[in-house]
């Protein structure tokens, strides 16, 4: 592969990197000027749109089994070229998710960042870099690259969580996130080292080959390695029992960062988990399928049960997102790669994630809009929202219905596919517990709806919604409804992204 082609394949990543560093530099030059600092937000947004265009441009280049992203260094350097990343349906799908997430977060953060921190430009640069790390993680095919990109994501997330240096909660959230995160990634890394020792390879495909050909002397190391890697990635996704950091980090972090934490690290964790399990360890599917099913049950149930008595909306949505990750995990646990039906587990997970992206980010955008006005995000702050801003209230209602999984919303489609996959694999218990959990979750989502729709506010003044916020909430709302009503293209997107990976490995 020539250098030019190599650069084209990396176009979305390069765009994000360049824009992020330009934002850093421009922020140094124009720092302190409020009007011009506002333009940095639009500049960052423009960069994200460019990355979206780049992603669409390279879309047709993906091949079944993945196109290795590497170029010939020429004879002068010697040695073999080891491709660290791949371009396949899964990588492209997660690039798309990342870009959409960045666009929504950057647009909804403007007012919040202006009020809460003097370091405004850098914020957007960090968000862009965090997005870059998700793109890298979802394309990584080598343990070294997986570790580097996950750690890149972790470090930017720690910085973003503790972004409000003069806020008691933000700093506390950052230190908790940091200590849990650093320990979890060390455990994951120990698993990687065992896997390398057992197979003598760090590439995912090479690991699978070594395991399949039976030349592995230290095969007993693979199972502990699998458990440790699951712990590390489970931390990023916030699966029970590795979830303790997430409520504190979500509550303490600046709200736009909370929105990011509820989607970004989860997406990256799922991308790596999918690739790791399906590409490197198909031989151990019996082991990991059972393990994931158990973790999914724990995650859904605990997330929903603890969410029942939360009074802070950010914290409630934190537990809700733990539960949502549990539903998504069902898709991977019930993976049936050769199924000739509408759901094979993996496309269910991807569709669920796609709907969850818009639902959760939309809900957080409403929380940010309310918080900009009231200064906090407790349940009473939402009372009378239907009178103060009918647009925000109706949108929030749809987002909450989608989180419950009531048609016609995207969340319903996701749940339909995920539970369908479980039923198809005869994992009836898993599906039943999933449905029961959806029923339980109605109670706490209703706790947000009730003050919003039926209670009177002390402060009845209308909430002014900025144009960018209106755009974000409107777009998320449209997408949440579209995923259910015009479902076909979205299902095709998820299925094709999944199919390329599955076809090559099974």
């Amino acid at each position: 592969m020539t250098l030019n082609r190599f650069l084209i394949l990396l176009l979305p990543e390069i765009t994000l990197t360049v824009v992020a560093f330009l934002v850093f530099i421009l922020d140094l030059i124009i720092g302190g000027d409020e009007v011009r600092e506002r333009r940095l937000q639009w500049f960052a947004f423009l960069g994200v749109l460019l990355a979206l265009v780049a992603t669409i441009l390279i879309w047709p280049l993906a091949e079944a089994g993945g196109l290795p992203v590497a170029f010939d260094v020429g004879p002068g350097f010697g040695g073999d070229v080891v491709p660290m990343m791949t371009l396949d349906g899964l990588a492209l799908f997660f690039k798309l998710i990342t870009v959409l997430m960045l666009a929504i977060i950057i647009l909804s953060a403007g007012e919040y960042v202006k009020v809460h921190t003097p370091f405004r430009g850098e914020f957007y640069a960090f968000v862009l870099l965090a997005g870059l790390s998700i793109m890298l993680a979802s394309a990584a095919t080598n343990l070294v690259m997986i570790y580097l990109s996950i750690e890149f994501l972790s470090i930017t997330s720690y910085v973003l969580t503790g972004y409000l240096r003069d806020d008691v909660r933000s700093t506390e959230a950052a230190i908790k996130y940091f200590i849990y995160g650093a320990a979890a990634s060390a455990v994951m890394l120990y698993g990687f080292s065992l896997l390398y020792g057992a197979t003598g390879a760090t590439g995912l495909v090479e690991i699978a080959t070594a395991l399949a050909t039976g030349s592995v002397t230290l095969r007993w190391l693979v199972f502990p390695a699998l458990v440790m890697v699951l712990a590390g990635l489970g931390f990023k996704i916030a699966l029970v029992p590795f979830h303790q950091w997430s409520p504190d980090a979500y509550e303490g972090a600046p709200t736009p960062v909370t929105a990011f934490l509820s989607v970004g690290p989860k997406a990256a964790g799922f991308a790596v988990l999918i690739r790791f399990l399906i590409v490197a360890l198909p031989a151990f599917q019996v082991n990991w399928s059972a393990m994931l099913a158990g973790v999914a049950i724990l995650t859904m149930s605990l997330g929903n049960l603890i969410a029942l008595w939360q009074t802070n909306v950010k914290r409630m949505l934190a537990y809700s997102s733990i539960a949502q990750a549990g539903y998504m995990l069902i898709g991977l646990a019930a993976l049936a790669p050769l199924a000739e039906s509408w759901t094979n587990g993996l496309n269910a997970l991807l569709l669920y994630l796609f709907a969850y992206l818009f639902t959760n980010l939309g809900a957080f955008a409403v929380v940010i809009a309310v918080e900009d006005r009231t200064g906090s995000a407790n349940l009473p702050d939402f009372s009378g929202l239907i009178r103060r801003s009918p647009f925000l209230a109706v949108s929030m209602l749809v987002f909450l219905l989608s989180l419950i999984g009531i048609p016609p919303t995207g969340g319903f489609m996701g749940k339909l596919f995920v539970f369908g996959a479980a039923v198809q694999r005869q994992m009836i218990l898993l599906a039943v517990i999933g449905v029961l959990n959806s029923v339980i979750s109605v109670y706490y989502y209703y706790k947000i709806m009730r003050p919003m729709l039926f209670e009177r506010a002390d402060d009845a003044e209308p909430i002014r919604v900025t144009p960018s916020m209106r755009l974000v909430v409107g777009f998320s709302l449209a997408m949440v409804l579209a995923i259910a009503i015009y479902a076909e293209p979205f299902i095709r997107l998820a299925t094709e992204s999944a199919q390329l990976l599955l076809a090559a490995r099974f």
Binding site: L143, V144, L148, V159, G162, A173, I175, L189, G200, T202
Partner: protein, 102 residues
């Protein structure tokens, strides 16, 4: 030559000591030191596996160097966070950080 298992046992012991420090120490700096011990156990593992299993390819060594580099970056961000926590809370005792719970 010393058998591979001896190296693995030393690395596993180091990892467990590090994990114990993370779980039991109250001072955040001591917790960070525990994390560094865990990462060094990984490095020991990687280099030992490289020497005994794939001495012809440098993968294990390169991986270890990456781990050392990233650990430095992580420690830098961690210490910066500790400083801002100390400024706001007056202590970096992780058990006293309980503004938010359940």
């Amino acid at each position: 030559m010393i058998p591979l298992y001896w190296w693995l046992i030393v690395a596993a012991a180091l990892f467990c000591i590090g994990l114990y420090a993370v779980l039991s120490r109250k001072n955040a700096i001591a917790v960070l030191m525990g994390i560094e011990l865990m990462l060094n156990a990984v490095n020991l593992n990687l280099v030992a596996f490289w020497r005994y299993i794939t001495p012809q390819a440098l993968t294990g060594q390169v991986f270890a160097i990456f781990v050392i580099t990233v650990a430095a970056a992580e420690a830098a961000v961690g210490l910066a966070i500790f400083i801002s926590v100390y400024r706001m809370h007056g202590s970096i005792n992780v058990e006293k950080l309980d503004t938010m719970r359940w």
